[in-house]
């Protein structure tokens, strides 16, 4: 798994590549939490273009970050989600709490 983080217009953007399963869940959680701690951003955009697989362990990390962000009044959105990952999001009900966009720019504009 590869993760890069950047700050745009005060929003934390996390770009993830790889397969989000239990093997990478701890690192994924840690990296996002560290970035949130250090930049103090209120809103989070997850760019999942490079994510080819996700299961409930990966979803759990995303849900955990959603809880953290929403407790502080912020929003989490996801962009560039591949179809098989989108299907898992849909089945899990994550779509109901998190918006999906085609690009980072679109997600930024809607915040």
């Amino acid at each position: 798994m590869n993760i890069s983080t950047l700050l745009r217009q005060g929003v934390l953007i996390v770009r993830v590549e790889g397969e989000l399963d239990m093997h990478v869940a701890d690192e994924f959680r840690q990296r996002v939490d560290d970035a949130l701690d250090s930049c103090g951003a209120k809103n989070l955009i997850l760019n999942l273009e490079g994510v080819s697989f996700i299961d409930s362990s990966g979803l759990g990390v995303i849900l955990g970050r959603y809880k953290r962000i929403s407790n502080n009044g912020g929003k989490v959105s996801a962009t560039n989600v591949q179809s098989q990952v989108a299907k898992i999001f849909e089945l899990s009900g994550l779509f109901r709490i998190m918006k999906l966009y085609e690009s980072e720019n679109q997600a930024l504009e809607s915040l």
């Binding site: 399963d21 959680r29 697989f53 299961d55 409930s56 759990g60 299907k87």
Partner: protein
């Protein structure tokens, strides 16, 4: 019904091996004319079952997971067994949002159930858990 193909693996209970198991499951399924979508579903279901054994069965401690793949005329079957802690209440464990960990969504069994056509869970506390799941296939699709 006669088994047309069979693979049995012994997997050490390590998170690294969850990916190896699901890729192997996909390779075993590739001998059929399944859609990419169906293969993705198998990968998720197998990933959940093996993750459950690593996380819940063995509590991230050392252990052995047995992974059996069987191909029949009418279905492809995956059997995942561990000799760990077992599940106290299977009916409860199969409910959405059941999880012993607040950061997990308790969706493992929900995904297995949604993505496979058959799901059978046998478990005994302190003896282990066996998950048997299968996807039905149309006849004559095996190469």
């Amino acid at each position: 019904m006669a088994i047309k193909n069979h693979v049995k693996m012994s997997i050490q209970s390590l998170s690294e091996n969850v990916g190896i198991a699901r890729v192997t499951a996909a390779a075993f399924a590739a001998q059929l004319d399944l859609t990419l979508n169906e293969i993705e579903e198998i990968k998720v279901a197998v990933s959940e079952a093996i993750s459950n054994s690593v996380i819940h069965g063995y509590g991230n401690q050392d252990g052995v997971i047995e992974f059996i793949m069987n191909l029949y005329d009418d279905k492809i079957e995956y059997i995942i067994s561990d000799y760990g802690r077992g599940i106290d209440d299977i009916t409860l464990a199969r409910q959405p949002s059941y999880s012993s960990d607040p950061e997990r969504m308790g969706l493992g069994f929900v995904f297995m159930e949604s993505f496979m056509d058959e799901l059978d869970i046998r478990s005994e506390p302190n003896k282990g858990t066996t998950v048997k799941m299968a996807k039905k296939i149309q006849s004559n699709t095996a190469h």
